[in-house]
């Protein structure tokens, strides 16, 4: 099916474009962008008046739980949630069962996504075999099988020698290492951020420095190795400062944060709310301010959700017992648009951080509406107001701290490779 997206505000940082334009899609590619494009009779017209038309959003950090943990999410439900949230591509983390540490698992994901999924799925392989932390995965084969990065997300590579060699080795192959920066000895049995709230609730705290020290270590190892590194889910002001300093010296470091780290503080844990429990944990107001500053000044390159579905049985329990993580695919866009409303980001920056930058960091060759590019397109209504309701979320899991709350802004059409995969 060919599409003509008419009358929207097309924002595409990859070609410095921000204008009221029409976008014509043919055979899965962007065919033409211009004013008053005419469509032949067989073209489906999407009226985008009053809407933003942007390169399809890319979430470089999600957990699809497939294979092995399909009771939480699977490739079908996860990608349905993705397109409902405006995402045309997601990168799925390797902590599945079995781990994405071999060609068979990577191929299974890619094939299932192609056959049954709603958006592009790019697997991330593991740095270490079985996430064991003791020997490297076959990164060459992982890359050949379609993995776009490697990460032991969920746990750090604790052995600095192995991390150093993994960075070196991955650089040789040309695959990005995504670091889960956490010093486990400092985390101990902590279950939330260490601060006044943990003191009042009597919950064991996780100090900021547990993240900062690991961020610093991995950046130093990358710098020493001359290898690039991407830091996942940055949550502390210390990490922002360390990354900013490294970038200023030309270290090849990029990073992401998640919407909850600029939208919530550890106050959200009050009432022992397990939907506010994640790792890294929600931090304090000054960390939130630093994350916003980092987004604004370019220290933080991407917004990624760390979409982490968990079954109700894993969340409706005592706080210490509850699993870490929240879903994020369907709330990321409105929470991020709020940064634009609040003057933290320009629209251009927002599209950079949710599409162009992630594409560039892991070489997805997306994040652009240039003529000839794959037609991954998100049409956004920035003023649509809606309530987050559990039974309306596409994700199988409902572990979301914003249930019942009002959101402003939503994807109204999500086009993947020229196919209209979602309409609101």
């Amino acid at each position: 099916m060919n599409l003509l997206i008419k009358g929207g505000r097309v924002i595409d940082p990859s070609q410095n474009m921000d204008d009221m334009l029409d976008v014509l899609v043919e055979d899965g590619l962007v065919k033409q962008i211009g004013k008053n494009l005419q469509a032949s009779a067989d073209v489906k017209i999407i009226d985008a008046a009053g809407k933003y038309v942007v390169p399809g959003l890319i979430d470089m950090h999600v957990h699809l739980r497939d294979p092995g943990l399909e009771y939480k999410e699977d490739i079908v439900s996860g990608t349905r949630a993705a397109v409902a949230g405006g995402f045309t591509s997601v990168c799925c983390m390797p902590n599945t069962k079995p781990t994405i540490d071999n060609k068979a698992v990577a191929s299974y994901i890619i094939n299932k996504a192609k056959a049954e999924g709603f958006c592009n799925v790019f697997p991330v392989g593991s740095i270490t075999y079985g996430l064991s932390g003791d020997r490297m995965s076959e990164m060459g084969e992982l890359k050949e099988s379609g993995c776009v990065a490697v990460s032991d997300d969920g746990r750090p590579v604790t052995n600095p020698e192995l991390m150093r060699r993994s960075l070196q080795y991955a650089a040789g192959i040309g695959i990005m290492v995504i670091s889960h920066a956490e010093e486990l000895e400092l985390v101990g049995e902590g279950v939330m951020n260490e601060g006044f709230t943990s003191t009042e609730l009597g919950l064991k705290g996780i100090p900021c420095v547990a993240e900062d020290i690991a961020t610093a270590r991995d950046i130093m190892l990358a710098e020493y190795s001359g290898a690039p590194i991407h830091i996942a889910h940055v949550s502390t002001k210390g990490s922002v400062r360390i990354i900013r300093e490294a970038k200023s010296r030309g270290v090849r470091v990029t990073c992401e944060t998640a919407p909850h780290y600029f939208s919530l503080t550890d106050d959200a844990v009050r009432g022992y709310n397990t939907n506010a429990k994640m790792n890294p944990p929600l931090r304090e107001a000054e960390d939130v301010a630093a994350i916003k500053q980092g987004l604004q000044d370019g220290t933080i390159d991407c917004i990624a959700t760390d979409h982490a579905p968990h079954h109700l049985d894993e969340k409706d329990v005592e706080f210490n017992v509850a699993m870490n993580g929240i879903i994020g695919l369907e709330t990321s866009l409105p929470l991020s648009l709020k940064l634009v409303d609040d003057g933290v980001l320009t629209l251009n920056q927002l599209v950079d951080k949710m599409s162009c930058n992630p594409s560039n960091i892991i070489a997805l060759e997306r994040g652009s509406l240039k003529v000839g590019a794959a037609a991954d397109i998100t049409v956004i209504d920035p003023s649509l107001e809606w309530i987050v309701e559990a039974d309306k979320l596409a994700s199988k899991s409902k572990n979301c701290p914003w249930l019942g709350q009002k959101m402003k802004g939503a994807a109204v059409a999500t086009v993947v490779a020229g196919n209209l995969k979602f309409v609101r």
């Binding site: 006044f196 943990s198 003191t199 609730l201 009597g202 919950l203 705290g205 022992y272 409706d316 005592e318």
Partner: protein, 310 residues
């Protein structure tokens, strides 16, 4: 007579000054029952109380059991083994099964802070917190207040020093909440490794640089138990050094007001947080705390059952 409107007692943080006053004043009446030859009143006859203790306890569990029995309630003690959680039954399922037997009150001790709030969403009976993680221990806080009131006749304007591992202490948190609400001031001392961030914002709380500063001119000195099994190995060198800097002994006790009252929630590590001379000395109110514990728990059981004093 003021009315007690809470179905559960989970934390002193959730109670008002008037609530606390009511609980203490009822406890004062209950104390009279405990001094009789026949220590039993029919107040809670026909009520069933389950003491569900996920953590070991001698004093608190016995005290709740006696409190229930003196009010003529039927009390049942359950101590699920620590492994029962790993065998698959969740806290909520255990509680729902118990609830099917129609108890009126579940008194629970649990290692996870906040687990009583989770439980309260699942069951229809009243819940009393007998200690949750490092969060609160409201019956201990109330019995400490009752004991201080017995000694001073009031609960405002007191200087109360609390010394020890504040980070891991639910006793300290309940006392901070209770004392602040009643108009007294809390002075904390302990190794910096055992002082939680922002604790001074919990109420009328001053964090002192050392133990001397905290107990200087104090009306009450409350010593906390050192629980090495809970604290891991990184918070202090050893108990020998700890007792040198944070132990109460006949010498440093002189810094407090003359005849200041000395308290400890028990069980005591003699020679660590308190020397035997002060534990057994004239200023010690430790056994009085235990005695008052029964009266306070009778008061708590009585009020969550919606009772009114005749």
């Amino acid at each position: 007579m003021a009315e007690f409107k809470h179905k559960h007692i989970i934390a002193l943080r959730d109670l008002s000054k008037a609530d606390i006053e009511l609980l203490i004043s009822t406890a004062e009446s209950m104390r009279e029952v405990n001094s009789r030859d026949i220590k039993k009143v029919p107040t809670l006859r026909g009520k069933t109380i389950i003491n569900l203790f996920y953590e070991a306890s001698t004093r608190t569990r016995t005290s709740f059991e006696i409190a229930g029995k003196r009010l003529s309630a039927d009390t049942v003690n359950i101590a699920p083994s620590n492994s029962s959680a790993t065998k698959g039954e969740t806290l909520a399922d255990t509680a729902l099964n118990l609830l099917a037997m129609k108890p009126d009150i579940i008194v629970m001790r649990h290692a996870v802070s906040g687990s009583h709030y989770h439980l309260a969403k699942k069951v229809s009976c009243s819940i009393i917190n007998a200690g949750d993680g490092a969060h609160e221990h409201p019956s201990q806080g109330l019995l400490d207040l009752l004991t201080m009131k017995e000694r001073f006749g009031r609960l405002d304007g007191l200087k109360v020093a609390i010394v020890g591992d504040i980070t891991h202490s639910r006793v300290a948190r309940s006392n901070i909440q209770g004392l602040t609400k009643m108009g007294s001031s809390v002075f904390l001392a302990g190794p910096p490794t055992m002082m939680p961030p922002g604790v001074e914002k919990l109420g009328d709380v001053t964090v002192c640089a050392n133990m001397k500063e905290a107990i200087q001119d104090a009306d009450v000195v409350m010593m906390l138990r050192i629980q090495q099994e809970r604290q891991g190995k990184t918070l202090m060198p050893n108990t020998r050094e700890y007792s040198r800097y944070f132990g109460l002994n006949p010498e440093n006790v002189k810094l407090a007001k003359p005849n200041a009252m000395l308290m400890h929630p028990g069980p005591i590590n003699r020679g660590v947080e308190m020397s035997s001379q002060v534990v057994d000395g004239d200023q010690s109110w430790i056994l009085k705390q235990v005695e008052n514990g029964v009266a306070v728990r009778m008061s708590m059981l009585y009020h969550v059952c919606g009772g009114e004093l005749e």
